[in-house]
């Protein structure tokens, strides 16, 4: 059954907010999503009834908190088809990707090739560039096709030249294009390379299984999928996780410590030093429950309908769309510019009508520059957006056009 955004909106109190005299239209979901009552209530319930340290103390409250925490971990891992010991909690996607780039630095030596793409978010470019620069390796940036998907021929060529690590994003936060993750993974492994996936814009919006995609590592953020900020997930293939050096040492990540030596905890706990973000994990598990109840397939279809309506509504003589511009090639993200008007000014005019969008270089400056722009405006959808909101967006955008 297709999802009913009007029914879901009842769960999001913020969507009733009035901004600049108008009903809020929130179209900045690639940046962060709104939170349903169920997520906020789960966090509240944890603090009012269960708050304690986890995995440490021998007392009833701590054991109840630990049960909740471990149950939440299982749910979150299950959401991407992973086992609970294959995911590491991070702050966000950025931290996850940095952890992987650092952990894999031991595999990078003089001349080692790491491949990434032109469409990467800065988070999947800068960590690799630093690691490669430190170790004397080489970073190769592959381009994209005319339909704004990753250039698979170039990927294959780079892999044939001895690439050790292929790190790409799944869905572009600028273009909205979906890269063929399964195929990239298969190619990388065929050539003996590792495959690292930035799934910040895919896991929240479409069905995703690590068993199906078969990556070596995947990072995503809780706050982009109805969860709280400050909690992210890094999936790492078990064999690789067992090899990885823990990034932080201290409490909670060791089995035994003497003045001379220590024995690290098992995976994944050795990667989670210090008191964990229990609130974040419990909030994210509630978000996962919420998304599962609706169904990821339904969410993807709903967003596709919104994108179709959005693309149809653009006056192409006035608006340049950066991306395939065809609905079947788009996730729920569309970037554009109104000719002759800076995207910040577009965002500001929409804001006066209560419509929140993002403008700028979107943390993907090399890509935005490659598109021939210094900044773009971006609309990004989620399950609570409606076709009516798309209409309101277009109405407001026509006012922008009339100013040129």
């Amino acid at each position: 059954m297709p999802l009913d955004p009007y029914a879901l909106r009842e769960d999001f109190p913020i969507l009733r907010k009035i901004i600049n005299g108008k009903n809020l239209v929130y179209l900045n979901n690639a940046a962060t999503t709104q939170k349903p009552i169920q997520v906020v209530e789960a966090i509240k319930d944890y603090y009012y009834n269960y708050n304690s340290d986890v995995l440490r103390s021998v007392n009833t409250l701590s054991s109840q908190a630990t049960d909740l925490y471990m149950e939440a971990r299982r749910k979150i891992a299950g959401f991407i088809d992973a086992s609970e010991d294959e995911i590491v909690f991070t702050r966000n996607t950025t931290e996850g990707l940095n952890m992987v780039a650092e952990a894999l630095s031991g595999r990078i030596g003089r001349g080692t090739v790491v491949v990434t793409s032109i469409m990467e978010h800065h988070s999947n470019l800068l960590p690799w560039r630093r690691t490669v620069a430190k170790k004397g390796g080489r970073l190769v940036v592959v381009g994209m096709n005319r339909d704004f998907t990753i250039d698979m021929e170039m990927v294959e060529e780079s892999l044939e030249e001895g690439c050790e690590i292929l790190a790409t994003l799944h869905v572009s936060n600028v273009l909205g294009t979906v890269n063929p993750a399964r195929e990239l993974s298969r190619l990388a492994h065929k050539h003996g390379s590792l495959f690292i996936l930035d799934a910040a814009q895919s896991v929240p919006h479409m069905p995703f299984s690590v068993r199906e995609v078969d990556p070596d590592a995947v990072a995503f953020s809780g706050h982009k999928m109805l969860g709280p900020t400050g909690i992210g997930v890094l999936y790492v293939r078990r064999s690789m996780l067992e090899e990885m050096e823990p990034p932080y040492l201290g409490g909670g990540m060791v089995k035994t410590v003497s003045f001379e030596t220590q024995v690290y905890e098992d995976i994944p706990f050795r990667f989670e030093a210090g008191t964990p973000n229990v609130e974040g994990v419990i909030g994210l598990a509630a978000a996962v429950d919420y998304l599962r109840r609706i169904g990821m397939e339904n969410i993807a279809k709903h967003e596709s309908k919104l994108v179709e309506h959005l693309l149809e509504g653009f006056d192409r003589s006035m608006v340049e769309v950066y991306g395939p511009g065809e609905v079947d090639k788009h996730a729920g993200i569309v970037s554009f510019n109104v000719k002759g008007v800076h995207p910040h000014d577009v965002a500001q005019i929409l804001d006066a009508d209560g419509i929140m969008i993002r403008s700028g270089a979107l943390c993907a400056e090399p890509l935005v520059n490659a598109l021939g722009a210094s900044a773009v405006a971006r609309v990004s959808f989620y399950l609570y957006n409606t076709l009516e909101e798309v209409d309101r967006f277009h109405e407001s955008l026509r006012r922008v056009g009339s100013l040129t």
Binding site: H342, H344, G360, A361, A375, L403
Partner: protein, 126 residues
Amino acid sequence: MAGDSENLQELLKRFKNPPNYGVIENADVVSEETDYSCGDRLKLYFKLEGERILDVKFTSEACLFCNASASFLADLVRGKTLREALSLKDEDLLRFFNTDSKSPRYRCIVLPLRALRTAFQGLEKR
């Protein structure tokens, strides 16, 4: 924010073709600044006579706020000494927009001042 939106209508009228926009061909100092978070890019051109600024112009790939601010800045520093120009504060630009450092456009508005400071720091080193 609502105030900024009203500003925008006014700015659109006044700064569609901002005064002081353009290149000074034989400029003594050229300074470029980019705000990476928003993507505004600005170039300032200075013609100097000793310690005095004879003329200033700017080119940009920037939003209206940044362009308007650069335009104001050029009027403010033309004829001033370098010391006087360097003593300008963020507030000297923000007040043209009836806004403060909490404005979402703060970074756009102060970008020209950053370019000015970069220009003269460079000059001092020479």
